[in-house]
Symmetry: C2
Subunit: 225 residues, 2 copies
DNA sequence: CGACATTTGTAGTTTAAGCAACGCTCAAAG
DNA sequence: CTTTGAGCGTTGCTTAAACTACAAATGTCG
């Protein structure tokens, strides 16, 4: 039976969580080795030590998995890097850096051709960014109509900037780029958000560059611990 | 039903392989964090994202798991480090080094008290060493009676040496120690084995020290790939 | 000592994952 | 052109793993 449709909300059974985690991990491994187009369902299942049929019990096809995987990866990164959901200058800085690394990793490590890959990833990333930023903006102030718009604009702007930076050959250090972009994004959020100067947070443990991005997903199953 | 007893030989179902792999991985993770005594079955199962009941479907208790895990770890190391099963001076050298690192890791990283841990590990290691060395010795030459004896003596000697080296405070570099021990072991095997001077093998990819020993088990499930 | 919490094993039932096998499409090789 | 093979998507049946729940053992503290 179609497991997915029945539950959809509650991931009750740990087997489901685990299986999806392994599929995501397998896909991200493979995406470093070959073009997404060239990856088959059989390969994914094999790499995940799962039966091919099990794959279809969870996802319609490899694109559905990619969507799911992308969302998980982004969320996992966001959750790991941003100490709390609230806005702070520091969190904005981290978010920009995170997106930069993410986009850059895709460009660097995923062998072309990126047929449907790029637009799909782009959409997912922007969706998540929108979500985060919407949470940053309080409902109370101003006309609540433009709240969504501000979040949307900021999300697109951020992604666009990161994309451009990633493709730029003369890539300046990410840190520099971030310092340059943050104020521009902040301008979009300005009217809504209290400009608390950053809460002198301690270093995020994840640290510098894009280190364990995909690989980190292998541990994703442990969330329910 | 008792899965284990029915199969015992053929690990047909990948779920079995995977589950045991995850349990081993979980145990080796935990053994770095706390004393083996202090580890509970519940913890192991949780860390492995498995139900506690599933644990008991595979192992009687945590000691049974430890035995299984130890064997797997050692075999995995041996298989990874020794290019082929046959004897060569180079393989002997690697085997000694391997045992040194293994024993040393246990002493270093596994928090005491080592109640039943040490003798159990010792037994398992020696058993595997005996197996390897027995394969090295041809059946044909001399009286085949003493073949087993030679293997046994060599295994014990090797383990003893490694253990002593590991506990020695003024630990000399492993490489030096290996060079010192190899001839002594070789003397035991001498009568049986052709002294081929080492086949100028390329570096083992595993490389230097005890790097990914326990952690490497996380990938153990992929064997059947 | 007794009360309380945790761990340990062991049922019975439900559910997800494995497997073999099928028909389908499509593209490369004969 | 036909044949072969690879991948896709689906089906029915089997089996391993999840869940609930319980009884016994083992701590652990006042």
């Amino acid at each position: 039976m179609l497991v997915k449709e029945i539950q959809e909300q509650k991931h009750e059974d740990p087997r489901i969580t685990r299986t999806r985690g392994m599929l995501t991990a397998a896909l991200s491994e493979l995406m470093r080795e070959k073009s997404f187009n060239a990856i088959t369902v059989r390969e994914i299942a094999e790499r995940a030590t799962l039966n091919r049929v099990t794959f279809y019990a969870h996802f319609q096809d490899k694109f559905a998995l990619l969507e799911y995987a992308a969302r998980q990866m982004i969320r996992q990164q966001i959750e790991a890097q941003l100490p709390n959901g609230a806005y702070s200058d520091e969190n904005l800085r981290r978010l920009v850096l995170l997106v930069c690394n993410f986009v850059s990793d895709i460009d660097q490590y995923c062998p072309p051709p990126h047929g449907q890959l790029e637009p799909l990833m782009e959409k997912k990333i922007k969706t998540e960014l929108y979500d985060v930023m919407l949470h940053w903006l309080p409902t109370s102030k101003k006309t609540s109509a433009s709240r969504e718009q501000a979040a949307m604009m900021s999300a697109w702007a951020l992604y666009g900037a990161a994309k451009q930076w990633s493709q730029d050959k003369a890539q300046k250090p990410a840190e520099d780029f971030v310092r340059q972009v943050v104020p521009l994004i902040k301008a979009n959020l300005q009217p809504f958000v209290e400009t608390n100067g950053g809460q002198t947070a301690k270093r995020a443990h994840g640290g510098g560059s894009s280190s364990g991005r995909f690989v980190s997903l292998l541990r994703l199953q442990h969330v329910y611990r």
